[in-house]
């Protein structure tokens, strides 16, 4: 995990990027809930949701190619679970009327659309802010203190593990003088176990070093977060708009189809 991948587009300047990480997180969470809680099988509302999400991405100036690439990582799983909605019902031996099957496909499709919209919002959230600012924001949002410390440590320890992996690879390679003559399983097993244990021990020593420099559960930071009233405008409007769509489309749909 390289910084460059993690924070690749977090340095752009856009209204989305400028939002305080706390505001951004809460907004993303509300928008996701609005979309995800949409009635099952309803496809019509996505005529509104998808453009809203698309506009947000455009505003953020993060390239679509990048967003879609990141979608690809989980896309197969989402596709699979969406497909499995109708399939799981077909596989069950219960008798179901034909119309029911059509409805199942609609539900499957709506699951797919929901999951994808939520996914894009999540990607937007995480790629428009530095990851450690996001964590800082979450800590300031009164996420349980324990989770706050753990995740702040984790952020460091992930790099530590990465570091240990590189080191042991280097150690192994520098003395690998031909095809491994010992069982590969043993060498790699030993190595991964050592990475695991050494990381544990180093995390302990590093933590000691933190304690010896006065750490008491709070990571000090020289950059302060502050939210000005007008920063809430964009997210406020956005949430309002989405809520209106969410409530109104029910009526529009009823009006159109009944």
């Amino acid at each position: 995990m390289k910084h460059s991948f993690l924070d690749k587009y977090s340095n752009l300047d856009s209204p989305v990027h400028r939002l305080d990480p706390r505001v951004k997180t809460v907004t993303a969470l509300i928008l996701i809930i609005i979309i995800v809680s949409e009635t099952r099988g309803a496809l019509f509302p996505f005529l509104f949701y998808i453009p809203v999400v698309a506009v947000l991405v455009a505003v953020s100036r993060i390239p679509w190619s990048y967003i879609l690439k990141r979608c690809l990582i989980v896309a197969p799983f989402i596709l699979l679970t969406a497909l499995f909605y109708p399939i799981s019902n077909m596989l069950a031996s219960d008798y179901r009327p034909q119309g029911q099957y059509n409805h199942d496909y609609m539900v499957g499709l709506s699951i797919f659309l929901k999951a994808y919209s939520a996914l894009i919002l999540l990607i937007l959230l995480t790629s428009s802010a530095k990851f450690h600012n996001l964590l800082l924001g979450l800590r300031k949002l009164k996420m349980p203190k324990l989770i706050g410390i753990i995740s702040a440590l984790m952020y460091r320890y992930v790099f530590l593990i990465h570091d240990e992996i590189l080191k042991t690879n280097m150690a192994r390679d520098s003395r690998t003088t031909g095809k491994l003559k010992m069982s590969r399983l043993k060498v790699f097993g030993n190595q991964s176990a050592m990475v695991f244990i050494r990381s544990f021990e180093r995390s302990q020593t590093l933590y000691n070093s933190m304690l010896s420099r006065g750490f008491n559960g709070e990571f000090p930071s020289m950059s302060k977060l502050s939210v000005k009233g007008k920063e809430l405008l964009l997210p406020g409007v956005l949430i309002f708009l989405m809520l209106v769509i969410r409530l109104a489309n029910q009526n529009i749909q009823n009006y159109l189809f009944n």
């Binding site: 000691n208 304690l211 000090p220």
Partner: protein, 246 residues
Amino acid sequence: MAAGVKIEKLSFSYTTDKQVLKEVSLEINPGEKLGIIGRSGAGKSTLLLHLNGILNGSGHISIDGIKVEKRSLYQVRKKVGLVFQNPDDQLFNPTVEEDVAFGPLNFGLSCEETKKRVRDALRAMNLEGMEKSVSHHLSLGERKRVALATVLAMQPEVIAFDEPFSSLDPEMVVQLIDIIQKLDATLIVVSQSLLPMLACCSRLAVIRDGVIVADGTTREIVTNRELMKSSGMDLSFYRELFRDYF
């Protein structure tokens, strides 16, 4: 400001089968500069790790009259700065700057004051321009210097240096000796580099297999050939080299 350190009958073992420290007692006056020397594996690092409560052996340690124990740890750690032997045990923040700022910020210094301390410490260690570098992408000598800076920036009353001169170039060693000499703190230095120790410490203690076998002024200890030899510190070889080249 400087504080006194008192170690009484400190014993410690990592595993049940071997005792690493055996009833070590040492008293260090405020402002004193003590060097501890001894063979590799004698227990020097283990001793230093006790000073700010990272390890807990049996026996008593007090800093400035405060007993080192669980509930006094925060206070003790504010007084005692420890530079680890291996800088990789010490650096954990993404950038050099953040690492050096960590201690001062934790002890409640203002942003302004912290920034000043960071700047000063980095300058003292010839690290200007490396503020934004990733700590673990530096050379070992550079990391050692960052580790030293993290502790210097805290301006503790007692500083324990574990092998501070290793991996530093001779020029930097001289610079560090100068800094150490000027420090207004009680100092405990462990190092295998004897020459710089001679310049820094007015008193030397010799540790062998977890026991303090000698303790006296630097001159007393160093000129005691017998003692030096039996503790693995024979310098006659160097003397020959020096004679030969200079």
